[in-house]
């Protein structure tokens, strides 16, 4: 740390003096009121339980109402293990979602005026009738399976029920094939269990946390960030592998600035060292694992010297860090990460992570991976769902055999008709996911959409995807609705309630009501037997000895564990794993059976051509995907992204801090907007870095439009994971355009 810090070198993440913006801000009046600031302090008159919807972590908390009965602030529920009473900035800033006056306000139907397509405002009845008619037509002509639901959020549960009742099994979320899918498959193949969410990592009690490209602290997965802080307090060793000097890297004892795309070589080398030096947990490996000898033979040549040539990580550093892990074992976590769709061999990379954990005996032990428990709640008493005649899998015969969930990218691809396939999708229902920013290759997504007979988008905000819809339905925010109970697995099981803290603004409605109304029109009313969502929740809560009334008071109910098996392998009891061999499969028989490598191998990936840099993208703690980019409270903390450029590269190109550039990728695609340069030592010279979720092109997003640039635009290429269909997206390369391109939105 320098003794004297030059203030001019600092970056004010959240800066003072944006006064010019304040006047134009619609929620300014609400925030400042007409009284003097010091006299306008508010009091909590009432609080209503909720769980957060700004990200998937779903922290339970409270919406506080002020004297006027308006939503004032949001705070965490002290009893919730997801947040321990402390919301993250996005949760705290969730009020901005409610007050954002760019919200979708009324149902919209695509129409044509004088040969030009536009939207007209419609009543809910009109919108539902339109959708029901088109859905029935698609079912009659092609089968109900040709309608797919894309969802990322609580509303998906309700529309999922509707579409299953309609006869389609094709429910998908980009959180699988564009995010955590390879991790679930890699760990399932090894331990017979996946990781789930929140991750079952015992960070709080670990002695050594190894992060591979996982930027905890920038990804603000609340409980996990909190536990990393606890681990720092307790003096745990943190090892971070990242081409970028991430926040986590700055908290680490060892930062391994790896050459991007070579992580597999490092993992194999760590496995080599741990086996060759006999630093693995012999008793655990003998008792629980299958295929140790094959693994030992397989990694024989993967020496640190071999890995050095590939990863640029020095052999002594590889040995030293392996020793750190072994010293801490079994209280060690080689973290499986979350967004792991990088290079197309991601399931295999996550297999290597799983194997390393198995060798160190961390699975099922304190300070490693715990066994989460979920409260069982009664399923609604519904008629049986019809049996579908075909699924998305039929579009991919012989491929992605270990995919556990439907692939968002796969359904998108299978919407573009080809002669080979008879099951092209004809209808999309999209809820709470901006597929334009989420799926790789925007041109492909847009082409797929052009082939649809029906596209319905349900969202709170006019995200880009809404512009492609035939019908847009305005969903109210999570602060204005009930939703399904949050039933989550953790060290202790919990149930959390989301209740409305305000009436829905404008003509927006809750997803449950929309799904029920649509089901009524589709003749599926029996699948929504309750008149209101309150009755449905009360019925479910009474089955576990609670009631809606009680839950409205406490918000969250914590239960005792039914089984005393938080660390089931502590003391090495007999244990049967959910794998073919009943053992932890270092050598995967399920992978072998399906024709995939039973042991992970290193594959060299394509490198950037001259004057191009690998595009790495990630998260900022105050934003979630592109979902928050227009939130007034959160844009106030960060309203644009910048492209991180190493000073050596900046010098070569003559780039200065805050200079605007356009980025062009290997396929000649140029960003719609310029992006400011951030010259920083925190990134390697062969890569550039951007925060995902900026550069919005929809002018209805008044705070987000044209702010920064979109990494999603530049991700035209992806490497497909043969095991489960994940789309590896860190395979795109970009170069700088210092002059405005002749075409484009500039």
């Amino acid at each position: 740390m320098p003794k004297t810090l030059n203030r001019r070198d600092f970056i004010r993440i959240s800066s003072l003096g944006l006064g010019g913006l304040a006047a134009a801000n619609p929620i300014f009046d609400w925030l400042s009121g007409s009284v003097m600031a010091n006299e306008s302090l508010q009091e909590t008159i009432k609080r209503i339980p909720t769980y957060c919807e700004v990200c998937f972590w779903k922290c339970a908390g409270w919406a506080h109402l002020n004297e006027k009965g308006d939503i004032w602030k949001l705070t965490g529920n002290d009893n919730d293990p997801h947040c321990n009473g402390r919301f993250c900035p996005r949760g705290t800033g969730g009020v901005g979602m409610y007050y954002d006056d760019d919200r979708l306000k009324t149902p919209l139907i695509r129409t044509e005026v004088n040969g030009k397509q536009t939207y007209r405002e419609a009543s809910w009845n009109e919108a539902f009738d339109y959708i029901a008619k088109k859905m029935k037509k698609i079912a009659d002509e092609h089968g109900p399976e040709c309608i797919a639901l894309f969802s990322h959020g609580s509303g998906g549960k309700h529309f999922g029920r509707m579409i299953k009742a309609f006869g389609s099994p094709n429910i998908t979320a980009p959180s699988y094939a564009q995010c955590r899918g390879p991790r679930e498959v890699g760990f399932f193949a090894t331990f017979g269990e996946g990781i789930g969410s929140p991750e079952r990592v015992d960070i709080r009690d670990t002695d050594c946390l190894v992060l591979i490209g996982s930027h905890i602290g920038e990804n603000m997965h609340n409980g996990q960030v909190q536990e990393m802080s606890d681990a720092i307090d307790k003096g745990a060793t943190i090892i971070t592998v990242d081409p970028r000097f991430s926040t986590a890297a700055s908290k680490s004892k060892h930062w391994l600035p790896i050459k991007p795309s070579t992580d597999m070589a490092l993992l194999l080398s760590w496995i080599h060292v741990i086996i060759n030096k006999e630093w693995y947990d012999k008793k655990y490996v003998d008792k629980y694992t299958f295929g140790f000898d094959e693994l030992k033979e397989h990694v024989k040549s993967f020496t640190p010297e071999w890995a050095y040539g590939i990863t640029t990580i020095k052999p002594n550093v590889i040995r030293k860090t392996a020793k750190e892990m072994a010293n801490a074992a079994p209280s060690v976590i080689i973290h499986p990460g979350r967004h792991v769709t990088w290079y197309g061999d991601d399931t295999q990379r996550l297999r290597a992570v799983a194997i390393l954990n198995a060798l160190l005996g961390s699975w099922g032990r304190r300070g490693g991976f715990y066994n989460p428990e979920k409260k069982k709640i009664a399923k609604l008493d519904l008629p049986k769902f019809p049996k579908p005649k075909k699924t998305w899998r039929d579009a991919f015969p012989g491929q992605f055999k270990l995919a556990g969930l439907a692939l968002a990218s796969g359904i998108c691809d299978a919407t573009i008709p080809t002669v080979k396939r008879d099951c092209s999708f004809k209808g999309w229902i999209v809820n709470g996911t901006n597929l334009i920013s989420t799926l790789p290759n925007q041109a492909n997504t847009i082409e797929a959409i052009q082939n649809l007979d029906l596209m319905v988008v349900i969202d709170t905000m006019p995200m880009e995807i809404t512009g492609y819809a035939d019908v847009v339905l305005p969903e109210c925010t999570y602060l204005e609705r009930y939703d399904n109970l949050r039933v989550s697995g953790h060290r202790e099981p919990t149930i959390a309630l989301r209740a409305p803290a305000a009436e829905p603004k404008y003509d927006s409605k809750p997803a449950w009501w929309m799904a029920k109304e649509l089901s009524n029109r589709l003749g599926l009313q029996d699948y929504f037997p309750f008149e209101t969502e309150e009755e449905e929740l009360d019925w479910q809560l009474k089955k576990v000895g609670l009631s809606l009334e009680e839950m409205k008071k406490i918000g969250l109910k914590k239960f005792d564990r039914q089984y005393d098996d938080l660390y089931p392998l502590e003391g090495l009891p007999d244990y049967e794993f959910n794998t073919n061999t009943g053992k932890i499969e270092l050598y995967s028989t399920s992978m072998e059976d399906e024709g995939y490598d039973p042991l992970p191998n290193y594959t060299a990936h394509e490198e950037p051509p001259t004057d191009f840099y690998r595009l790495i993208y990630g998260r900022a703690p105050m934003h979630t995907f592109s979902r928050t980019a227009n939130n007034p409270n959160l844009t106030d903390l960060m309203d644009e992204n910048k492209v991180w450029v190493n000073p050596k590269v900046a010098k070569e190109w003559g780039l200065k801090n805050n200079q605007e550039v356009w980025l062009e990728n290997q396929d000649g695609v140029v960003t719609s907007f310029p992006i400011k340069v951030r010259v920083t030592e925190r990134i390697r010279w062969d890569s550039v870095y951007m925060i995902h979720g900026f550069g919005h092109t929809d002018k209805r997003l008044s705070r987000a439009y044209g702010r920064g640039a979109s990494d999603a635009e530049l991700i035209t290429k992806s490497n497909i994971d043969p095991v489960m269909g994940g789309t590896g997206m860190r395979v795109n390369f970009v170069t700088f355009l210092t002059e405005a391109p002749t075409k484009g939105a500039a």
């Binding site: 740390m1 800066s15 944006l18 913006l21 010091n38 602290g217 600035p257 409270n633 000073p647 390697r684």
Partner: protein, 177 residues
């Protein structure tokens, strides 16, 4: 009694939750803030170090803003908390000029505004909003005159620094390093 804050830079991840929590709690207009986060990086790749700091009014014991205020709008109350009486403030900005920490801004209503240590919460025995929300629990608030307080113990146990001590204002925000 001497209220102070200690911030553990080893734990802060710079998430800015403290900033948004303060804005919501205190009706700070969008576009302004009473606290903010600094990221300071030093070194060259790959030999780097980085520190995040959440910054705000230092509630200086020898506060130049109070000394230079012509209307006594800037004043010190029990516990050493520096406050601005919005009704007395004429918006002359002398205090803004005098503050070495750049901690004050002109509220759109014309008066100066800044961190109050959430005195309205502290009076009720609660922590300031920023401290109570921090996901990493890197912030500590308490009485440095009480040798048994958590903050006093931390300042004895850990290495710490203050910002711009050479300004001689005796700041009361400590950074644990």
């Amino acid at each position: 009694m001497r209220y102070a804050m200690a911030i553990d830079t080893k734990k802060c991840v710079g998430c800015s939750d403290c900033v948004v929590a303060c804005q919501v709690e205190n009706n700070v207009p969008i576009g302004h803030c009473r606290d903010w986060v600094i990221e300071a990086t030093s070194g060259t790749y790959p030999d780097l170090s980085m520190e995040f700091r959440t910054e705000r009014c230092n509630h200086c014991t020898d506060a130049p803003c109070v000394r230079c205020c012509p209307t006594e709008a800037s004043h010190i109350v029990d516990g050493g908390i520096v406050l601005v009486d919005a009704n007395e403030c004429i918006g002359c900005k002398a205090c803004i000029e005098s503050c070495p920490y750049d901690a004050r801004y002109i509220h759109p209503e014309g008066h100066v505004d800044k961190c109050t240590f959430c005195i309205h919460r502290v009076e009720k025995g609660e922590n300031p909003a920023c401290v109570s929300v921090c996901p990493t629990k890197c912030m500590y608030f308490g009485d440095t005159d009480d040798p048994n307080s958590e903050i006093s113990q931390l300042l004895r146990k850990r290495k710490w620094k203050t910002l711009i001590p050479e300004a001689g204002t005796k700041p009361n925000i400590y950074y644990l390093t």
